[in-house]
Symmetry: none
Subunit: 407 residues, 2 copies
């Protein structure tokens, strides 16, 4: 029996409300440049401090020691799925980020316009970074003329500058394929081919991609500089057991950015739309309180300020989240977890491998008496250092969703 | 995809210098007899204290909870290899310890002289612990007369008292074999036979061992008490992916004892020879700084004093290491890890299972603000308690050797 099977076997229906609040990229490091202080330590967080009075803490490896995850694996782990087993292709992530409503079995690819010479050689992989408006116009033209190939629907979604996304939707598609991208200038566009061994679904996708090229290239051949295009990360949306199947939880996402809504949708959460601020997101939780068992609430500004290396902005983002917390607590969830999907230290200016701090509060959590919630206090918490994929299990346990194991 | 495969896939070339400094047997326990103090706590360590200002800490299980490792598994884990998967035979370890320059595919055995009666029955398994000089003389005699068997070169290396090592070097050898040792007196020497299932390489080794007995016994039959010999731990040197293959790191060892040089050589590190003291070892690092990416620096006295149960000597050993640290820091490595290969508590007078403390410092480590580096401070570090085989992954991450995982 696997551990997952054991958890499933022990799971009993939920009578509690669970909230996972993710401050994206929350974790940070205390460096000499920052006066050996992290944004969480520097921020004034009276409501988090108050919560920590009756909460436990710990730190989580998003994937494994030393590995800095993208948003995909970071969230897949927070949702309780093994992020190495359930890898989400870059095309899928990009499509989710552009708000494409992906369905199980869809194949998605990151694409961008490029410049080809008369012999089909790539002379500029980014087509001079054409303007977003030009990209939109070209995508519209293509979308009008290439609506389907064989029994496969084609969905084109323009992105920023020269970038766009292509989604193929139809029966029997698979992946992954190799990139239709030479990855440097002076070469022709290679054919996308199955990379995962013998697989008729990938073969079909390769055929569709090839026909897509034959259909699209004539449409843009008179354009300059965007008379060609490249495709990368061609992969199908993995089929992942839904939250309800796996945890018996009716789950909803309250996120403001398309990518996080999309990642939540990948595991079957209902997207609750319309909120812009964390205050509004918590309000929306109050309104939907009765409809769901589990709410994933995603807060983006911490990650953005970390990526910018802007310590003060990260402090302000944390304080903004903290200031909104009383709204959430008007209907305090039975189980509340507050954490990041990974660390984005200001010094690193990127996602990092440093374990993110996590706070867990419920009537049954007990308290680690740590006074505040920071990276350093979390080091001393009773949850210890654990893999992020187990957070949901801690939450379920605190929601009294597990029978005793054995007699 | 396995975790190891993921690490490999994410690895990018190294532009940093990494140093692993191992104080052998560093970890200790605070007992009433020791006034509830460990040698690390009792030692004056101004330079370690200074390092800990901008470092993180944790504790490492050398193998798994409760397991006290030998030097082999202890170091194999520090080098990032699973110590259960990559077991190094006792013959190999013994040969390395005696300074035999082992090559991949060599079969090594621990051997010792014994006393046989007229019927070939073992009457003294240690031949009265003959003097080292006698052992050397007998080994010389054997080595002169038995230089090869079939196409296999035979290498004999005398050890202490009645002990020696036999190495077989040639094509198609394998192991392991059962011991040519009854493990008690009153029995004949059993035949060494393959124990790992059907394997023609082990069959060949068994044949060579049998012929080795036939060749050697007549040479020493007139000796008394050393007219026979036993062989144990007959195994081939495992083929382990080298450091460079596995981590893309050009690695060198700066160790003073043959066994640690040999263990480093097992994973493909270059042996840098000549240093006697830790001060000299750090000097050698400075000289070779540009030639390698990764340096393994091994310091033995902490383990010896632990084995002796000599608290004060262990304190002095730690202080000797600390006093030399400024030499290392003249060219501060980008990533520095300081730890043990296991604990050797003075009270236990042997290797133990207690997790060893580890300190990790880099520009991206952040700090746990622990002030000192001891077993107790390490308990509060952000690295938590982890398996020693992941230390290299933490070091690689801090060296910026990993791409982000997923989008």
């Amino acid at each position: 029996m696997t551990l997952d099977q054991l958890y499933s076997q022990l799971t009993i229906p939920c009578e509690a409300k669970l909230v996972l609040a993710v401050l994206d990229g929350l974790g940070d490091i205390a460096t000499p440049e920052q006066n050996r202080t992290t944004p969480l330590e520097a921020a004034k967080t009276p409501h988090l401090d108050h919560l920590s009075q009756d909460a436990v803490q710990g730190r989580m490896d998003p994937v494994a020691p030393g590995i800095a995850p993208g948003s995909g694996p970071g969230h897949i782990a927070l949702f309780g799925y093994d992020p190495i087993e359930h890898q989400v292709g870059r095309g899928v992530i990009e499509a989710l980020g552009l708000g494409v409503d992906l369905q199980a079995g869809d194949v998605a690819a990151r694409a961008n316009f490029c410049t080809l010479d008369d012999n089909g050689i790539v002379t500029d992989r980014r087509a001079g970074r054409i303007k977003t408006e030009t990209c939109q116009r070209l995508c519209d033209q293509i979308a009008q003329k290439v609506k389907s190939i064989e029994d496969v629907e084609v969905i084109i979604q323009p992105g920023k500058d020269h970038r766009f996304v292509v989604v193929f939707r139809g029966p029997g598609l698979g992946g992954p394929l190799s990139d239709a991208d030479p990855h440097r200038e002076g070469k022709p566009i290679p054919t996308a081919e199955p990379t995962g061994g013998k697989d008729t679904t990938a073969d079909k996708t390769a055929r569709i991609v090839s026909q897509f090229y034959q259909a699209v290239l004539p449409i843009i051949e008179k354009e300059h500089p965007a008379n060609g295009f490249l495709m990368r990360g061609i992969a199908h949306q993995p089929s992942i057991p839904t939250f309800e199947e796996r945890y018996r939880l009716r789950a909803a996402s309250i996120a403001t950015y398309p990518m996080y809504k999309g990642l939540a949708q990948l595991v079957g959460m209902t997207k609750l739309e319309g909120s812009q601020t964390i205050e509004q997101q918590f309000e929306q939780y109050l309104q939907e309180y009765n409809q769901y068992d589990y709410f994933f609430i995603h807060f983006k500004p911490t990650d953005m300020s970390g990526e910018d290396g802007d310590f003060d902005a990260k402090v302000r983002a944390i304080e903004e989240f903290d200031a909104a917390l009383p709204t959430l607590m008007r209907k305090a969830p039975d189980v509340l977890a507050i954490t990041g999907d990974h660390s984005t230290p200001c010094k690193v200016k990127a996602h990092s491998w440093h374990p993110q701090p996590v706070l867990l509060s419920s009537a049954y959590s007990g308290t680690d008496k740590l006074g505040r919630f920071t990276e350093t206090t979390a080091n001393g918490g009773s949850l210890g250092l654990f893999e992020a994929k187990y957070l949901i299990r801690h939450m379920q346990a605190n929601a009294k969703m597990f029978d005793k194991f054995g007699a």
